[in-house]
Amino acid sequence: MNLLTVNRATIRFGGLVAVNDVSFEVPQGRLFGLIGPNGAGKTTCFNLITGIYRPTSGDILFDGESIVGKKPHQIAAKGICRTFQNIRLFGDLSALENVVVGGFLRHRSTLPEALALMPRAIHETEGLVEYAMHLLDTFGLAHEANSRSRDLDYGNQRRLEIARAMATKPKLLLLDEPAAGMNPMEKIGLMAQIRRLRDEFGQTILLIEHDMKVVMGVCESIFVLDHGAEIAHGPPEEIRNDPKVIEAYLGEPV
């Protein structure tokens, strides 16, 4: 069963066609990679899926239901959550609070209840905090729970973003260059972390990454974009040897 189906999605900004007639499917429980040279339209794809942009034409199905035209928060509520290429944490909030914001999506109590400090709101908050602490622990951030997220170091910020996204309990997790700016050791840790997410939580993940070691090491199938259009897709071994992919990355065929 395909969790996400992108069907001939196209978006134009004025004369520029940023994503051109792209179709792919992400099956349940897969680690799916989206790669391509700079400016290929990968992040724009993410923005289409998460509802920040609306496709000019084409359709995006999630869980068998079209999500085109839905607001970002509605799509998040349906179970798609993402991280950002340039980290976008809530800088002045603590790491714990950042994760609780993610978990808040599934809240039950109403705002008046919270304003009157009714037991249900308190209990719910306690539950959310507990779950957030559990997640922070999973990502090795428990000791930083109360520090301002702005003050965390770079690798921790990246991990915190993933934890925050995981707190929404997404069916599909979109990671936008999670390894950017990490050193080789951190990258190895990240790869292990991503595999664990899949193995322990059964998480479906769609991943944008430039670092080929990470992509090839983690993903089970890969989709390659260039100039907004598909040039290849398949398992890593195939992509590695695909002449078109090599051309897109290195220019002229060798």
Binding site: P72, H73, A76, E97, V101, L111
Partner: protein, 470 residues
Amino acid sequence: MTTARIWLVRLLSLGAVILFLWLLQTKISPALGFLDNRLIQIGLLYATLAVSLNLINGITGQFSIGHAAFYQIGAYTSAIVSIHYYRTGTIEPWVWLLLMIIVGAVAAAMAGFVVGLPSLRLRGDYLAVVTLGFGEIVRIIIQAQESLGGSYGLTVSASNSDAPLKIAPMWMFAALAIFVIAVCRNLLKTAHGLPFLAVREDELAASAMGVNTTLTKVTAFVLGAAFAGMAGALFSHYEGFITLKQFDMNQSFLILAMVVIGGTGSITGAALAGFFLYLLPESLRDLPDVSGYAVFGFAISVVIVLIVSSKTRRYVRLTSPGAGQTLFMIFGLVGVLGALFMGFWIWSQEVPRMTQFSVSVLAVGLACAMLFTRKRMPNLAGLGWIVLCFGAIIALTYPAIQGLQSNAFTSNLLGEISYRAGNLRFPLFSATLVVVMLTRPQGLLGHHEFSWDWVKKLFGLPHKSKELAG
């Protein structure tokens, strides 16, 4: 926490509040009669207003600078309802007042909804200008309506009498302030406050995490406006007479300044700033036309402090070690004594008690600035310096204006200038705003809440957290 325990705490705190309000009305307020109760009441009102603006501005990060409009709408709506429907003797005044507070809240909340809508598309300075424009539109419309008194003002009276209606008791002001503070605190205490903070920090990321940013922003505007409307209703039934001047652009800026100086996002910061930034300058309004000697003394102590400041001290220590130190000791002592003398001197003057209190506080602040070096108690010295700048402006403008007056040419040019220290309130206020922005853009408390650790840090005592107020 178990449900039973939550309810127990709830009941106990409610009881404590009611007990406090009862004590305030029957015991404390009469006992404080020698102070000006009016100042305290309006001070509480400003605390309410500052906290309500803080919800929009500090917590949700939507930059609204037309808050007086909501205040105004609450005041006028409730006043009109009272004029038409209230008959004295039919209903307990305070019950009617409660009803009017609700009316004011509803009217202002509707206005808040209307203003909240642009916030969906605008951010930052553009939103600021739209809210400012909204405030002006409200003022202009009211000015054009003769039924609302136009620019003459509106007397709030019962339908069966012409006497102004002044039915707001002391406890109501305290109750409203406590209510608004409690609601805001509850919001931040549960997870429901986090979407608001998330919208402030990063709207796009918040929406990607499933926060309905539209709903959140409009909610903030509606709630903040409703609180301001409550304050407005209370105000109109306290004064018995309202004019446009009480709700103009300067009023909005005043409330904004309170939030900013108190620390955007800090409820306690806004409440404390609202209360004291009204009380302190307002009590100085009655400062007597300062006698030359007092100003002279004050000016001298200011000069002394400038000399004793750590930089000059370091400089002199390097150039002439022995004599300089002794000289400084003497100067510093004279300065402290001078400041303390000011604090005592004011009690011999024929001015309201509140003024005497405020001057004493200022004088003690000045003395603190001199006594505590920046190294040992940096924060208190900092506060002292702000007080000092106030004093310096007062002390220096007086001789300057005297000089301009004594010169025939300039005095002819500038016309009559009536110099009163009280006239300096607004210049001082705006100067503080600029200085705070330049030196400490996050305000006194920053995003933090008031805590005793903060006070301890202020006095250089051992404290737990390093980041606090840092």
